[in-house]
């Protein structure tokens, strides 16, 4: 990469993240096995002759790209899980357009996620799957497990909170007093990616400045630049939030905290977390500013599963998946837990 190209990288990454993801992204080989509207379900090509019989379906958040779990060679949770003999499937929710503003939280759980699970079950001939959810995807995975318990053999919830009234910054910012959700959705439809990006950036702008200075200090180092590009492509690649999904997600979860109260309704059914009886692995981190660890760990206290484990890691919300400790701690622990079941 030429000096000029390197010099402008931080700016390029901020303004053209999705194009940069196309240009520099190196993903683990996979095949698209299902599409519906913007949804894609991918199956990673197995590396062993006989993969583990229970398929693993990974559910990312809607508002960030799926590839945080498959960032680049050497920093890919997916590649590691495939190398350990798991049959890994991934949901890519895609980028919603204006017409998707009418898709609700219920649509994403009982339509898109259910169809993804169905296609995985049909393709593998297995009656049930291991469902992994990351962040917002963790919440969807929890709701799905309550609604369709016979289809989920194991649940892995990675940083998906069940309590939304905590000391996290998003808990404060989304309070009814400060955020008029109806006005946002009625006026904008989908919540624009740019607004989400600005919101996330506003949490720690000093960190962004420090990171940029760090970049210019190390811009001669090829490995550093590659890692920087991979991570910042993802960080700057926000995706619009489907309007009606946002309305229910913020009003029922963040503002009214209905999930933890056992009063959340999805597709006409009340979500009772105690109905979860399958093996559950909950993964969280001590310094998570998006989903404080106690709000995530609470899941294990509210379910009736006998086989449940909590993995409390060091570091923050993003570092846990691709940071230095992830490869040594999270990835093997996750693979071991799934392979034993």
């Amino acid at each position: 990469m030429k000096f000029e190209e390197r010099f402008w990288l931080p700016h390029q990454l901020m303004s053209h993240a999705s194009e940069m993801a196309e240009r520099y992204g190196q993903r683990t080989p996979s095949d698209v096995i299902y599409t519906e509207n913007k949804l894609r379900v991918m199956r990673y090509r197995p590396q062993v002759e006989k993969p583990h019989p229970i398929p693993l379906l990974m559910t990312p958040p809607l508002i960030m790209p799926y590839y945080i779990m498959d960032l680049k060679p050497g920093k890919s949770l997916v590649a590691y899980l495939v190398s350990r003999g798991l049959d890994v499937f991934m949901i890519d929710w895609g980028v919603p357009d204006a017409s998707d503003r009418f898709d609700t939280l219920d649509d994403y759980v009982v339509r898109y996620l259910d169809h993804a699970v169905e296609v995985v079950r049909r393709l593998t001939g297995q009656p049930h799957i291991t469902l992994h959810g990351y962040c917002q995807g963790g919440i969807l995975a929890i709701l799905y497990t309550v609604l369709f318990p016979d289809r989920v053999r194991n649940l892995v919830n990675q940083t998906g909170p069940v309590n939304f009234h905590d000391d996290g910054i998003f808990s404060l910012w989304t309070r009814e007093r400060w955020l008029n959700v109806d006005l946002i959705v009625d006026t904008l439809g989908n919540v624009p990616a740019e607004l989400l990006w600005m919101t996330f950036q506003s949490v720690n702008p000093v960190g962004a400045i420090s990171q940029m200075i760090h970049f210019y200090e190390h811009m001669e180092d090829d490995q550093f630049v590659q890692d920087y590009v991979a991570m910042n492509t993802w960080l700057n690649h926000s995706i619009s939030f489907p309007g009606e999904f946002f309305r229910k997600f913020v009003q029922d979860l963040y503002q009214r905290n209905l999930l933890v109260k056992g009063e959340l309704q999805v597709a006409g059914t009340r979500i009772n977390l105690n109905a979860i009886a399958c093996p559950v692995l909950t993964i969280t981190t001590e310094k998570d500013h998006v989903a404080p660890w106690k709000s995530v760990a609470l899941l294990n206290e509210m379910i009736s599963s006998q086989d449940k484990a909590l993995l409390l890691m060091k570091g923050g919300h993003l570092g846990m998946t691709i940071g230095r400790g992830a490869q040594d701690e999270l990835w093997p622990a996750l693979a071991d837990w799934v392979l034993r079941r």
Binding site: E36, R101, L188
Partner: protein
């Protein structure tokens, strides 16, 4: 200022600025200002959208919301047909297997 002291000064600035910012974004004054600014911009856009929609309706043209709603319904129907096709294929495969 040598490199070491420059780095140390930056670290002090970084720590203090982070703490000040973290405190600012939790303060009621900041939240009130952000909330009001967002709400004012949205209300302005809402007024402009309403005026435009009224003009389109007067000209007997569909509004963007109406078009989006129709497209959403078409896509939902497309998904349902896709699901039905898969179920028919499954049933037909089961029946074929049974002879």
């Amino acid at each position: 200022m040598d490199d070491l002291s420059a780095a140390a000064s930056f670290q002090v600035w970084e720590k203090q600025a982070s703490e000040a910012w973290a405190s600012l974004i939790r303060s009621p004054d900041f939240l009130q200002a952000m909330s009001q600014q967002l709400e004012s911009s949205l209300l302005l856009k809402q007024q402009l959208d309403r005026a435009l929609e009224a003009a389109l309706k007067a000209a007997l043209l569909p509004t963007s919301t109406e078009q989006e709603r129709i497209l959403h319904l078409i896509r939902k129907l497309e998904g349902q047909i896709q699901q039905l096709e898969q179920r028919v294929d499954q049933l037909s495969a089961t029946l074929t297997a049974r002879g």
